[in-house]
């Protein structure tokens, strides 16, 4: 009886040790990913007609590249577009300062404002979805169209 119990205990110890080892390796592998990933954050939006996404705050006092696109898969519509700009969340000026390109050949966009609702740049084909100033430190996606649109805003810093 004692011998069979001993035979059971020893493999259990090794199984437990193996579980600890495997979990540790998994945690280390999981932790290594964010440490090795560059400073790039994607915000997938889905905005109903007339609504805004949540505010997105870029890192302050460094130029942040914004890549915004509309993929149109939610409405299954031909309103696909993309745009590019840099923005500075300036703690000195207490406002956003930006410079870039409107979508679909809309020309240059540049400006600075802390006022909510100020247009920053269009990100779709029809120029009904744009980035707008939320407050002195953040912006949001605004949908002025009649359908729900989705896409991604990517920030690189």
């Amino acid at each position: 009886m004692v011998r069979s119990s001993s035979n059971f205990v020893r493999p259990t110890q090794f199984v437990l040790a193996a579980i600890v080892a495997v979990v540790t390796v998994a945690i280390l592998a999981h932790a290594a990913q964010p440490l090795a990933t560059p400073n790039r954050l994607s915000y997938p939006y889905k905005v109903a007609p007339g609504a805004n996404s949540g505010p997105i705050t870029p890192a302050s006092n460094i130029p942040v590249m914004i890549l915004a696109d509309q993929i149109g898969t939610d409405c299954d519509c031909d309103n696909v577009g993309s745009s590019l700009m840099t923005v500075v969340n300036s703690s000195n000026d207490h406002e956003l300062v930006w410079n870039g390109f409107e979508s679909d050949g809309g020309g240059l966009t540049e400006g600075f404002s802390p006022s909510a609702g100020t247009h920053i740049m269009y990100i779709d084909f029809s120029h009904v979805v744009d980035l707008e100033v939320s407050n002195a430190t953040s912006f949001h996606v605004h949908n002025a169209g009649s359908e729900t649109y989705n896409g991604t805003v990517t920030l690189i810093w």
Binding site: Q13, F14, A31, S42, I56, T57, V64, S138, L155, W157
Partner: protein
């Protein structure tokens, strides 16, 4: 002497490393749970749908900090446990080796009560 043949300092040391290991695992729960896709972070749908403000720099820094802390705690706990239980895990083999070489099989580890 303890019933299992382990001294109290040894027992407390092993409890400490188990707690350290478990804390490393639990720390994962406090991360923002950012996904990594196409070599970049992706804000989770739960945060997007909540409409909460996304502070990009703080969010990424928090994810990195918590993952680093979790890795350090888990690795520290695992190494500590390996040292604590080395006699248990390697005992039989070292005992056989000691017998073959004619050495005394009693352990020199102060944690193991002779």
């Amino acid at each position: 002497m303890h019933q299992n043949g382990l001294s109290w300092p040894h027992r407390w040391r092993s409890v400490f490393f188990w707690v350290l290991f478990a804390t490393g695992l639990l720390t994962q729960a406090f991360s923002p749970h950012l996904k990594i896709k196409n070599n970049g972070f992706v804000v989770p749908p739960s945060l997007v749908s909540s409409g909460a403000e996304v502070q990009t720099l703080e969010l990424v820094a928090r994810e990195r900090g918590i993952q680093f802390l979790s890795a350090v705690l888990t690795l520290g706990g695992a190494i500590g446990l390996a040292l604590c239980y080395r006699e248990v895990l390697l005992g039989r083999r070292s005992t056989q080796r000691d017998l073959a070489s004619g050495n005394n099989v009693a352990s020199d580890d102060p944690g193991i009560v002779k």
